[in-house]
């Protein structure tokens, strides 16, 4: 199978921070708001380089969202940074009315998504944010898989006009996509071609899907692995094309299976190409404290869980 090399573990939030730093230097219309989490979101360099374009919002996320929406009037491109839990659930109504319904060019930069936030526990580990955001008409939902891709995505969303939810995480994870990649919103990326099963993964689960494919290969199963960095709009054609070949699919995400990415896949396939599907994700529960690795294991969000799901879905063909 296609080999992917981890060029050195790094966190996706640093991909965001570094992308934002470059944007600051390249585009004077880019501005940023942060709700008292500047170091966590890696927004310090932008704030230092452009103090006039950086707005410390304090621990007041609702106001931050509303201000960002207003700031687009006059041509600014605001990025708002906080943890995914506070960037979505806490301010859902503000995003719904002032950003989505008002169709404002706001980029919601949501870090520390999912259980890999780790020790802080369930209050901070949102597993419902993809669902909340994908339900909003007009909202683009992106969950890149590694440092390089998050950086590329950050720069790409500044070019796109319209509201975007950009989801990333806290831990250092494998960095295996090209540093010079061009990020195309809504375009799925074929990582490994196979004929027995399709694995569609998003975010941190993409690397796990590649590890799973390696293990499956040793068992004689050829897995096709597709990186779905954009959950909405979903690259339906790429998924359909793949299942026409493989006849079954596993979706993998660091999110509740209720309302998540896998449900979007199932909804599309059920209408045109119904095939057996298994869902790797959190099964309708909250997270808890622990190390990221322990939590990925406990909630079955890793390569081993994907292998198990693949074996099950193939048996259902």
């Amino acid at each position: 199978m296609t080999k992917y090399i981890d060029s050195g573990k790094n966190d996706t939030r640093s991909g965001f921070g570094d992308g934002l730093t470059e944007l600051g230097l390249e585009n004077e219309n880019v501005i940023a708001f942060c709700a008292d989490l500047t170091p966590s979101l890696k927004m310090g360099p932008f704030a230092k380089n452009h103090p006039e374009r950086f707005f410390q919002s304090g621990i007041a996320e609702a106001n931050m969202v509303g201000m960002a929406a207003g700031s687009t009037i006059g041509g600014k491109i605001p990025f708002i940074g906080t943890f995914a839990a506070f960037a979505t659930g806490r301010v859902y109504d503000q995003i719904r009315q002032s950003v989505a319904y008002s169709n404002k060019n706001v980029k919601i930069a949501a870090s520390h998504a999912g259980v890999t936030l780790g020790e802080d526990g369930a209050t901070h580990q949102i597993l419902e944010d993809i669902g909340l955001m994908k339900m909003l008409p007009g909202m683009v939902v992106i969950n890149p898989c590694d440092y390089n891709q998050t950086k590329a995505a950050t720069k790409a969303v500044a070019e796109y006009v319209g509201p975007v939810y950009l989801r990333f995480g806290r831990p250092k994870v494998a960095n295996f996509t090209p540093a010079d990649q061009k990020f195309e919103i809504g375009k799925a990326l074929m990582l490994n071609e196979g004929s027995d099963v399709t694995i569609v993964a998003t975010g941190h689960l993409v690397w796990e899907a590649l590890l799973a494919a390696e293990e499956l290969e040793s068992k004689g199963i050829k897995a096709e692995v597709i990186n779905i960095h954009t959950i909405k709009p979903l690259d339906v054609n790429a998924i359909i094309k793949s299942v026409e070949k493989t006849g079954c699919i596993v979706s993998a995400e660091e999110h509740n299976v209720f309302g998540g990415f896998g449900e979007s896949v199932a909804r599309e396939l059920s209408q045109t190409n119904p095939v057996p599907q298994e869902f790797v994700g959190v099964n309708d529960s909250f997270g808890m404290s622990g190390t990221p690795a322990q939590l990925m294991d406990k909630y079955e969000l890793n390569a081993a869980a994907i292998v198990k799901a693949v074996e099950k879905v193939i048996s259902r063909k």
């Binding site: 501005i31 006039e52 374009r53 707005f55 919002s57 304090g58 007041a60 609702a62 106001n63 931050m64 969202v65 509303g66 201000m67 960002a68 929406a69 207003g70 700031s71 687009t72 009037i73 006059g74 041509g75 600014k76 605001p78 109504d93 503000q94 719904r96 009315q97 002032s98 319904y101 008002s102 169709n103 404002k104």
Partner: protein, 282 residues
Amino acid sequence: MASTQELENFCTQVRRDILRMVHAVNSGHPGGSLGCTEFVSTLYQEVMDYNSDSFSMDGQGEDLFFLSNGHTSPLFYSVLARSGYFPVSELATFRKLDSRLQGHPTNHDGLPGIRMASGSLGQGLSNGIGSALTKKLNGDDKIIYTLHGDGEIQEGQIWEAALFAAHNKVDNLIMTIDANGMQIDGPTKDVLGLDSIKAKFEAFGWEVMELAEGNNPAKIKEALQEAKLRTGKGKPVCIVMKTEMGNGVDFMMGTHHWHGQAPNDEQLATALEQNPETLGDY
């Protein structure tokens, strides 16, 4: 600048529009709309600089207004139409299927003059501050105006925004609070008392003015001119404006009954008699 009589005629026609619009669909919010008629009319007819002939979302070089208490939409629509943003005849589509004049204001359907949806309360001050920040970054010295209900400021987001605006010296912003003392469940002092709004905003670091006659166009104009003089001095400006809910229709005044209640045929006729046609009905 319009003469006092012209401005009063404008307000009378706006009141007629509001009454006829909510009556036609038997829904909407006449009380607060009538109470703020003089304010919004004066703002658009006498105070703000804007280009209604060719509406641009960015509004560069224009004063901008955000209606935060969006339920007063019939007032907003009437003033916008009669200020040239869209044909007055379109007021007849208010709250009807596929209209650009939704129950609560929105830019979603492209209605000129509106830059932000409102309805869910407490968001307009944040929106206004955001656009004020952008005006400063763009070197645009025009002013941002926002309007809020007094009940609305029970929303916590208002106080987040109030903190931010003072801390960051957002001094190109004039917020007006419609202090009519009423909300859906009754007098504001009984529902969730606000006590001294002036003292609260002063404590938050704002420049605060009180306008006792918020239904008097001449006094409103005076207050807004004074408020403009107080911009650019390092503090956001707040006007606490006393109004009478339902102003201009005797049986709608002094009660919160007409907050979200449309008049019936007979009530409409009485109300319109008290507000004779001045600029031509839509």
